[in-house]
Every structure is written in structure tokens, then in C-alpha cells.
């Protein structure tokens, strides 16, 4: 329960152990149980009670605060989007050696993936995602979304010319659909239809006959059943052009299809088509894609997809330090795109400047406060605490009013005649604005820890030094100052931690050159929508802060944080 009790208990336990050793047989408590056990029980109950009191808050914080941060950390490495949007392509590229453009099978896989993605309207997001890694991909993806049908259309037209039945949805249903599904679908049609249409199912065995067509058709059927405001049924819709591409590839023997084994509905039609495909007019898929977007016959798009096909990526973290992952390994990004190291450096330099200014301005104040009589120092302390308690936005607006070109300071300077009316100083919307406003805002965080350390320095040491012949300066520098160093350390870390994470003040008074990494994080969340990069930048910043926090704990101890 309390320290005193605990002390007594452990003392008692130690005695009990000693006596244990001396007189064999356990020492018993009043209720007849062994004392050791009942002491342990008491201890356990105590621990449990403490934990029970702490648990509600701990759970609350884990849910409302810790989980969100972990969630964000996860976002910085998450990259499922590539393998989810282009699953077939990712598999096809698995063994690709990146020396030459991929083979036809890969282009076919891309055609199927891309058609489905475009129908689900998810291809532009992947384009934006991959554009973070290689410029130009976003526009390739967008253009391909508009032109993907062009890849399959020649095949669709030639199958239709061969036998108009290929254009009929019913032909395809007879070939592909599970008879059970057909009857379920019919039941559903007769019923109220207040549930979605039963999910399309393939007839067993068809995948061996026409592997690629089956896959493409299922993708078609499932997609139209589940997208859009008014889902459609494969029963009434002609397949996508890319399905005909798959059919052509199956029938022309590119995929190991086994037409001979098939004897189901439409077997003759299938056989006729198989005999005819050799005479189809075709161009290589690669060239068909070149017409959709010429980026598809250049290497970067393929190497980028291959490099970023893993469900997890270090790409965002690399981007956060101006690096990028290329097939050749990790490289620096182009000079005209480097930005984050500069920003991290600027955040550091400005924070250090602010910290330095806080020490210079805070030290004399803390020194004065700790050397004045209690009554006076308490009065003056209010001058430090009032800004500390005043809203951050109030202080930021005050600085805006003071520093702007038509503001109080400039007016004053013009009035005195120090600067001309046409040569007003620019003190805001640049680094000066950020440094001045933030020094003011963070100064109390330097003064308060310094003051609490200086209060404990006995004045007798300095007096002793002086009486031994030290000058005022020597006494201060050799005797007083070293004792105040822990206060400087605590104040510096505190100011630095708070400073590198600042967002509001730089946003309002920082302009182009006075913004911090935080402002960049906010930009990526709400403007550029590069959430992965925002999360990676955030994680780096967080790691930095946690190291400093750990240092602070080592030097000062978190239990010793005082508020006012």
C-alpha cells in the first residue's frame, strides 16, 4: 500500500527467510498459512489493485492515441495497392529479368488486370501511387484507362465476324456458367430481387479447357455484378473486349489450353473458332499497348511495377530522405526533386536557433528570478507564466500584427525615421517570422526548468568562491554555471522537442522559407494525398522525438516534469 508498509513487509519477509533457514519448517501467519505465501499474496493483490486503477486510462489511451499512431506507422510501409490492382501482372513479372520488355503473356495479364481496374475505377489511384516512384506513370495509367479496350477490340471484331453468336451473352453463359448458378439466378429473377444477384460461378472443368478465357470471363462477370449504382448481369451483357483477347490466346495455343477435351455446349463453335484463329489479323500485344500509351513499351513502367509489387515497401521511407528504389538499387532522386533532407535540416537548424535564443534570453531571467527574494520573484514569475498560459493563437496573431509590413513595429520604425515608408522591413512570412514568434512561444519552457534548477543552487558556493579570491566572473563561470547545466539541458531538450514538431506558427508566419517538416506532413495529408509519404515523414519525426524524450527521461526524469 504505502512505501512504509512495503518496507516493513519486505523486512518481515527477509526475517522470515532468515528464520526459515535457521529453523526448518515454514513460518506461519496468523491464519495458519505460510507467511511467505501470504506476503506474496498481499503483494499480488496490491499489484492487481494498482493495475485495476490504471487499466481504464491505459485502455483508453491505447485505443484513442496509441492505436492511431501505430496505424499511421503501418501506412508508411503498406503497399498492397500494386498487387491488389494488378494481381496477374505482378505474378507474370515475378521471374522477369528486366533486360528487355516483358513477353506477350505479361502484356495479356496486364490487359486483363487493367480492364478490371479501369471498370472498378481504381487504376488512377495506382497511377498516382506509382508516380511517386517514377514520374510519368500517372499519365500513362490515366490514358490507358481510356484506351484499354483498343487492345482487345480487334479480336472481338474478328470473333464476331466469324460467328455473330460470339457477341451473344447467352453463348458465353452456356460455355462458362455453372448450371447450378444459372438456376439460382433464374430463381432470383423470379423473386423480389431485393438481394444482389447470386455471385457468378464457373462450370467445373472449363478452366482446364480455356484457362485464360475462364479467368478473364470470371473477372468480367464478378466485376459487372458488383460495381456501379446499377449492377449488371453477365446474362445480358457482352463480355469485355479483353475476354476475346484471352479466347484468341487460348485457341491459338499460347496458354496450354486443351480444346479437344471439351464436349460441352458450343463445342463445335469453339472448334471452328480454334481452326480459324490462325488466320486472324493480329499485331503483337506490345504494339497494341504502344498505341494505348507509348510508356508501355519503355522499361521504366515495368521496372517500377516489378520493384514495387511487394505488399510492403521501404519506398516511402526512402522518399522521405530523398532516395528512391530503382532496379539498380537505392539512388538519390533527381536534383530538382530533392526536398526532404533540406526540410529536415531546416527544421533542425531553425529549432536549434530557437533553442539557442531561448537559452540566451531565458538564462538571465531564470537567474534573476532565483536570486530575488521570494515575494518579488513570485511577482515576476507571473510575467513568465502569463504568456505560457495564453493561447498559442493569441500569441501568433499578436506577432502577425506586430511584424507585418503595415504592422506596429514597422510603423514605429517609420515614425522614428529609422526606415523609409517605402523600405519597410519584411519580418514575416519568412524565417525571421518563424524564429521570432516561436522563440517567444517557447521561452517559458526554457525559463521554468532553468528556474527550478537554479533555485536549488546554494548561494554559499559562490560566496565561498569569492571569499577565496575568485572574481565575480570566475565565481559565476566556474562555480555557479556548472551547477545550472542540468537546467539548461532540460530546458533545451524540452524546447527542441516542442519546436521540431511545430505546425501552426510556421504555417501562419513562416511563408515559403520558414515552414517546418510538420507543414509538409499536413500538405501530404490534405493536399497531395500522398498518405504513405506523410506517414513515413511522420514516423521519422516521431523517432527523432522519442530519442530526445528518452534523453530527457535519462537527464531529468519524466516524473520531474513540472507545470508552472
Amino acid at each position: 500500500m504505502s512505501d512504509a508498509t512495503a518496507g516493513n513487509l519486505s523486512q518481515a519477509a527477509a526475517e522470515a527467510r532468515r528464520e526459515d533457514a535457521a529453523q526448518t519448517g515454514p513460518m506461519l501467519a496468523a491464519d495458519g498459512r505460510p507467511l511467505k505465501r501470504s506476503l506474496n499474496r498481499a503483494l499480488r493483490a496490491q499489484k492487481l489493485r494498482a493495475l485495476a486503477l490504471i487499466a481504464p486510462l491505459l485502455i483508453f489511451l491505447l485505443v484513442t492515441f496509441v492505436a492511431p499512431i501505430l496505424d499511421m506507422l503501418f501506412r508508411s510501409v503498406e503497399n498492397q495497392i500494386v498487387s491488389e490492382t494488378l494481381p496477374r501482372t505482378v505474378i507474370a513479372l515475378d521471374g522477369w529479368d528486366a533486360t528487355d520488355l516483358p513477353d506477350d503473356a505479361t502484356y495479356a495479364a496486364l490487359a486483363h488486370d487493367f480492364k478490371e481496374a479501369a471498370e472498378r475505377r481504381i487504376h488512377t489511384r495506382l497511377g498516382s501511387r506509382l508516380n511517386y516512384e517514377a514520374t510519368g506513370l500517372s499519365s500513362i495509367f490515366r490514358r490507358s484507362g481510356r484506351g484499354i479496350d483498343g487492345v482487345g477490340e480487334p479480336y472481338a471484331d474478328q470473333f464476331a465476324a466469324l460467328d455473330p453468336a460470339w457477341e451473344e451473352p447467352a453463348t458465353w453463359i452456356a460455355l462458362m456458367a455453372d448450371p447450378d448458378w444459372i438456376s439460382e439466378q433464374a430463381d432470383w429473377l423470379e423473386a423480389a430481387q431485393d438481394t444482389p444477384e447470386p455471385a457468378f460461378r464457373l462450370v467445373p472443368g472449363i478452366a482446364d479447357v480455356l484457362p485464360e478465357t475462364t479467368d478473364a470471363y470470371r473477372s468480367f462477370a464478378r466485376t459487372i455484378q458488383t460495381t456501379g449504382r446499377t449492377p449488371e448481369s453477365p446474362l445480358t451483357k457482352e463480355p469485355w473486349a479483353t475476354v476475346y483477347l484471352a479466347l484468341y490466346r487460348d485457341l491459338s495455343g499460347a496458354t496450354g489450353a486443351d480444346i479437344g477435351a471439351y464436349s460441352g455446349p458450343g463445342a463445335t463453335r469453339l472448334q471452328t473458332a480454334a481452326d480459324a484463329v490462325a488466320g486472324f489479323e493480329t499485331i503483337p500485344l506490345r504494339d497494341a499497348f504502344a498505341e494505348v500509351a507509348d510508356g508501355w513499351v519503355q522499361m521504366p513502367v515495368w521496372t517500377t511495377i516489378q520493384t514495387f509489387s511487394d505488399p510492403y515497401t521501404a519506398g516511402y521511407f526512402l522518399a522521405a530522405v530523398d532516395l528512391q528504389l530503382t532496379p539498380q538499387g537505392i539512388e538519390q532522386v533527381e536534383d530538382n526533386q530533392r526536398i526532404y533532407l533540406t526540410l529536415f535540416k531546416r527544421t533542425m537548424v531553425l529549432s536549434l536557433t530557437i533553442m539557442g535564443l531561448c537559452v540566451i534570453l531565458g538564462y538571465p531571467i531564470a537567474y534573476l528570478l532565483s536570486n530575488l527574494p521570494m515575494r518579488t520573484s513570485n511577482m515576476l514569475l507571473i510575467l513568465v507564466l502569463l504568456p505560457f498560459w495564453t493561447s498559442l493563437l493569441v500569441r501568433t496573431s499578436a506577432w502577425k500584427v506586430l511584424l507585418q509590413q503595415q504592422g506596429v513595429i514597422n510603423d514605429l520604425l517609420v515614425w522614428i525615421g529609422l526606415v523609409g515608408d517605402d523600405a519597410r522591413l519584411t519580418m514575416i512570412n519568412n524565417q525571421t517570422g518563424t524564429v521570432v514568434a516561436m522563440t517567444h512561444i517557447l521561452l517559458p519552457f526554457m525559463i521554468l526548468p532553468l528556474y527550478s534548477v537554479m533555485k536549488t543552487i546554494p548561494p554559499s558556493y559562490v560566496r565561498a568562491a569569492k571569499s577565496l579570491g575568485a572574481t565575480n566572473w570566475t565565481a559565476f563561470w566556474r562555480v555557479y554555471f556548472p551547477q545550472s547545466v542540468p537546467g539548461i539541458g532540460a530546458g533545451c531538450i524540452l524546447v527542441f522537442i516542442l519546436s521540431i514538431g511545430y505546425y501552426i506558427t510556421p504555417e501562419i508566419v513562416g511563408g515559403r522559407t520558414g515552414i517546418f517538416i510538420s507543414n509538409r506532413i499536413a500538405f501530404h495529408i490534405s493536399d497531395s494525398l500522398n498518405w504513405g509519404l506523410a506517414a513515413a515523414l511522420g514516423s521519422i519525426l516521431l523517432a527523432l522525438v522519442l530519442v530526445l524524450y528518452w534523453l530527457y527521461d535519462k537527464i531529468v526524469g519524466i516524473d520531474n516534469v513540472k507545470l508552472g
Binding site: S2, D3, A4, T5, Q46, R49, A52, L53, I54, P56, L57, L58, F60, L61, L62, T64, F65, V66, D71, M72, L361, P364, I365, L368, N371, L372, V384, L385, L386, P387, W389, T390, L393, V394, R395, S397, A398, V401, L402, Q406, D411, H440, I500, G501, Y503, I504, I508, S518, A522, I525, A535, G538, L542, V545, I558, D559, V561, K562, L563, G564
Partner: protein, 285 residues
Amino acid sequence: MDHRLPPYATTGQRVWFYAFRVICGLIFFFLMAPILVVIPLSFNAQNFFTFTPGMLAFDPDAYSLRHYRDFFTNPDWQQALSNSLKIAPVATLLSVSLGTLAAIGLSQSHVPFKGAIMAVMISPMIVPLIISAAGMYFFYSRVGLQGTYWGVVLAHAALGIPFVIITVTATMVGFDKSLTRAAASLGANPVTTFFRVQMPLILPGVISGGLFAFITSFDEVVVVIFVGSAGQQTLPWQMFTGLREQISPTILAVATILVVVSIALLTVVEVLRRRSERLRGMSPG
């Protein structure tokens, strides 16, 4: 340096003594001036952010309450004020009740993983706000709390907790445990002991922790921008938008009101701190 100049001081010491005081005066001026400048400007009769000649000549006509009237009649500001007043007290209540319980738990002698638990509880104060805001934005979106009143309240409650933990544990440090044992030995059950003995002693800490939590929520702008939506636009948020977009002297009137609120809160905390130290038998200081 002592606070009084000894009669035998040399000229150099004298010069330094006064120079030092002037320097400190200037730094105090730097600390206070921005706040002091805002106050008279908020009574400006004109729509300017600077002192008009009339104001400098103390012409009563140059001063007016129009910006305060604007604050109290403008629906945007009133909505913001009422949102702030709806969010902050509830967030405070949450942080204070959970925080006080946990602080009591933490002050027990045998708490397993005390360091780790403490670190988690202080972390909302240490983690940069933009990171908390970003994490909450994504996570709260997933669970449907983003853009809701409760989302903002929960977020603010989390941010206020470290302050409650710090102030309450600080009052527990000097707590004489024999008092609770005395109460128990006189027949009080734990609940009675808590409310009759422990609570009155830690109450000052609880209240000042609550005030810190309140001001945290009342002043907070980064997290609310991300977690809230227009329906939860608070006073600081409105000020933030105003500062960037339509800066009008009404902002200075709001600022002045907030300064007055800060002074009131500061006074309460200071009084409580002294009372607490007196109750626990420490010297006031």
C-alpha cells in the same frame, strides 16, 4: 549576484548590476509586449491593426467596443465559441476522471512496468501534434469517428491526460500514507477513506490538472482541424482560419478575451498550488 548591491561595490559592479537589470527588463518586455499590444488594439475604432493617431492621442473616439460587439453578434464566432464550450468540458471530465484514477494507481508502491506505463501516459504531450493529428485522422476515419463530436472529444481527452497525470501524481508524492491507514483503523471503508481523506488532499492537484486539460482542449487547433469537420469548428480553429484568410480586428478582441480567461485560470492554479502545498505541510513557494 545578489539581489541588492552591496555598499562596497566597485563602479564596474554597479554598471553591470544595472545593465543586467535593464537586459532582464527588455526580455520581460519581449515576453509581455505582444500580449499587451493586442489588448489596446482590440479597442480600435478603425478596421486597422495598428495604432491610429487618435489612439496615440488617447482620443476617446478612437476607441470603441465594435470588435467585441462583432464577436458577440457574429454567428460564426458564436458557433465556434459554443462548439469550444461543448467540447472542452466533456474532454476535461474524461481526462480528469480517468487520469485521477490512474494517478492513484501509479502512486501505489508496487506497480509492475511503471516506467513503460508512465511513458505511454505522458506520450500525448511529447508526440508532435501533427503526428497525433495524422494518426487520428486515418484511424478515426476507419472507425467512423472522424468528423464527429465524439471523435474530437476523445482526441482532446487523450491530449489532456498527461497534464492530469503530472499534476495529480505531484500532489500524491507528498501524501502521508499514514492518514489513510489511520482512517482505515478507525473503521472507514476504502471508498469512504478515498472521498473523506485522500480526495480533499489531492483535490487541488486534480483541479489544476483539470484546468490544464481544459486549456489544452480549449486552445487546441491542430488535432481538431484534422479530426473535426465544420460542425466542430472551435474558437482556435476559427482564429486560425481568420488569421490566414480574413484577418479582422475581431480576432484581437477574441484574443483579449482569451488573455483574460488565461489570467483567471492562472490565478486559480496558483492559489490551488499554494493551498495544496500548505495542506501537505510543505512551505509555500
